[in-house]
């Protein structure tokens, strides 16, 4: 299954506004994308399009997360979401 790692760049971490922006973007992808902390089993990965899941993940600025997706367009979806995570969304 295609996967990518990304380092959270937003100052407030992956909650508040950055979580909303990221969840919205994930829900617009043609494939289902999951998010997890590195080392966590893939089965326990959370739905990246769920703002509540993102908030319970509690990823802070500088934390590394793993994104996974499968199917047509998975690679493109992952690449665009990684870019988003590595942007400081609080600055916008």
């Amino acid at each position: 299954m295609p996967e990518r790692t990304a380092t959270i760049a937003s100052r407030s971490g992956l909650h508040a506004r950055p979580a909303a922006i990221f969840a919205e973007a994930a829900s617009e992808q043609p494939v289902e994308v999951t998010i997890a902390m590195p080392g966590a089993p893939a089965d326990d990965a959370l739905d990246a399009a769920s703002i509540l899941s993102l908030m319970t993940l509690g990823a802070a600025k500088g934390d590394v997360v793993v994104l996974r997706a499968e199917g047509d367009g998975a690679d493109a979806a992952l690449d665009s979401l990684v870019t988003l995570l590595e942007t400081d969304l609080d600055a916008e």
Partner: protein, 562 residues
């Protein structure tokens, strides 16, 4: 013509149609099952449709909103169709045969608890999940969504009481007046109404039975609501439109008819308020509430962060007086790093200046930040501590101020003991400011937020006026002419403002929107007349008479609809 009588808390006379604020959504009974006629599949489809429409409604409101409100609404909209929430509800429907209402209720509760346990920012979002859950249940039941009704046409809002959170969704261009069946004169509804300049009546029993769409006349000064407005009332509402235009402008000079100067100052909570107050002609700031720099924080802001926030307010009043109140946490303003939420009696607990007993250091760092900001600005900065009870506390606060390089330390007089010993208290500091909201609450032993105690909880109580008089007398006894001002909501009531001036109060500080009304009325009386009215109020047997007697001698109030 049916009349409902309550307590007027913000003047204005308007005619409009009413909208009832929907009752809070009740909990679906525990163990509620799917109706026999409904399959689990249908229930899930229904739930998803309800969630989608709640999402769409919140999203549409977010699109129209701006700033912080927009961000919160956008995040809340996403929660409505969140897969984590819906999957957990779906599981309850499929596995337990729960009704859709009960399933989303329980799913929301567990997600909310999870966020709550994470603490900090997440904990604050826990209530958003509960709000979304209530909206979905309302949608499933086909009843109106909780909260202030969304509308494109103006209406008069009738509610049991408003919460601070409702302010965010209250659009003063749409809501033309507020009437509540509960709440008191110091309730959040009253404070919200005054800050927005909306006519408001609180504690008007029976108003929650008035049907939506009924045309009513509201008089925020008289504290009444009438069904089927008369021709006279229609004329009064029209006259108010004109009066309110003149009452919107303060000429920046508070004085009695005979030239006794009473500077009229503003109560502000931050730089934005301060700029607005300066534009409305405020002669300075009589109460700068610094909690707003601290609220919604899990940890104490740094000295430099604080200094920057204070500077924003100071800069709006170059060359003028800005009276800053040090952190007033506790009771209705808890702060996670400072106050204990489990106290049995928070209003009588560790709050205001007293947080320095349990968490020393925060106050000293705040004073350091104030001194930095004051040095960099041109405002004349005075600093006072809230909830001072004894001369010894005043002395200690003054020495902390001195050590930080603050020249003008003062105290708030809110605890009756401080009013009774004001001569001794004032020996240690340069000024006192009466916080009439808390002074009333403590003198009358009546919780500010409780509707049933509204009649006790008014600064018109002769006992409260006596405490004001004693505080002023204490300053005279002290002998150095140290000023005693008022910075509670009492100063915003034009009739009471005249009484306070008559009692010898030297400055009045209020929500900026009340400056013009207070200034206009003050100009119509001489100092001697104000003193006469003060004696009259003190001699009244109760608050209702005190107010009625004074108002009868100030015909301009009725003329202007104040």
């Amino acid at each position: 013509m049916q009349n409902f009588q309550g307590v007027g808390v913000s003047p204005g006379r308007v005619i409009g149609t009413i909208r009832q604020m929907p009752k809070p959504v009740s909990e679906p009974p525990s163990g509620e099952q799917l109706a026999a006629s409904t399959t689990a599949e249908d229930a899930v489809v229904g739930l998803k449709a309800a969630a989608q429409s709640v999402h769409d409604e919140l999203k549409a409101r977010a699109d129209k909103a701006s700033g912080d409100g927009k961000a919160v609404l956008e995040a809340t909209a996403l929660m409505a169709k969140d897969t984590m929430l819906l999957k957990s509800a779906t599981k309850l429907i499929n596995n337990n045969g729960s009704s859709a209402e009960r399933a989303i209720w329980e799913a929301g509760a567990s997600v909310s608890e999870m966020l709550h346990n994470l603490g900090g920012y997440m904990a604050e979002r826990a209530t958003d999940v509960l709000d979304v859950r209530a909206r979905i249940v309302a949608e499933l039941r086909g009843v109106p969504a909780p909260g202030i009704p969304a509308s494109d046409t103006p209406f008069i809002l009738v509610a049991e009481d408003l919460a601070p959170a409702d302010t965010a969704t209250l659009d003063p261009a749409i809501v033309t007046a507020l009437v509540t069946s509960g709440g008191g004169p110091q309730s959040h509804t009253a404070i919200i109404a005054r800050s927005l300049g909306l006519p408001a009546v609180v504690a008007a029993r029976g108003v929650d039975e008035i049907p939506d769409g009924a045309e009513v006349f509201v008089d925020g000064a008289a504290g009444s609501l009438s069904l089927e407005p008369s021709e006279e009332q229609r004329a009064a509402a029209l006259a108010w439109v004109e009066n309110s235009a003149t009452l919107a402008v303060f000429d920046g000079k508070g004085t009695t008819a005979d030239g006794h100067l009473v500077p009229l100052l503003a109560n502000v909570g931050g730089a934005k308020d301060a700029a607005a107050a300066a534009a409305l002609g405020a002669q300075g700031v009589g109460l700068f509430r610094t909690e707003f720099c601290f609220l919604e924080r899990d940890t104490e802001p740094t000295v430099l962060e604080q200094a920057a926030a204070y500077r924003g307010v100071f800069d709006a009043f170059p060359g003028k007086k800005v009276v800053l109140r040090t952190l007033d946490a506790g009771a209705d303003k808890p702060l996670p790093f400072l106050t204990d939420a489990t106290e049995p009696n928070p209003a009588l607990g560790v709050r205001g200046y007293r947080t320095d007993f349990t968490t020393p250091g925060v106050l000293e760092r705040q004073l350091e930040a104030i001194a930095i900001a004051a040095d960099e600005s041109e405002a004349e900065v005075w600093v006072m501590a809230p909830m001072i009870s004894t001369p010894a506390e005043a002395a200690r606060f003054a020495s902390l101020c001195g050590a930080a390089g603050i020249k003008t330390p003062g105290v708030m007089v809110e605890v009756p003991s401080a009013a009774l010993t004001s001569a001794s208290v004032l020996r240690h500091v340069a000024f006192a400011s009466l916080g009439t909201n808390d002074l009333t609450q403590y003198a009358m032993a009546a919780d500010r937020q409780l509707g049933p105690l509204a009649e006790l909880n008014t600064p018109w109580q002769p006992a409260v006026l006596r405490l004001v008089q004693l505080t002023v007398a204490g300053s005279a006894e002290e002998g150095n002419g140290k000023p005693v001002g008022v910075c509670g909501e009492a100063a915003a009531d034009p009739a009471l403002a005249v009484v306070l001036v008559g009692l010898g109060v030297s400055t009045l500080s209020m929500t900026a929107r009340s400056l013009a009304a207070v200034g206009t009325v003050l100009k119509t009386v001489t100092l001697e007349q104000a003193q006469e009215l003060a004696r009259l109020a003190l001699s009244a047997p109760d608050a209702l008479d005190a107010k009625a007697w004074v108002r009868a001698k100030l015909p301009i109030l009725e003329e202007l609809g104040l």
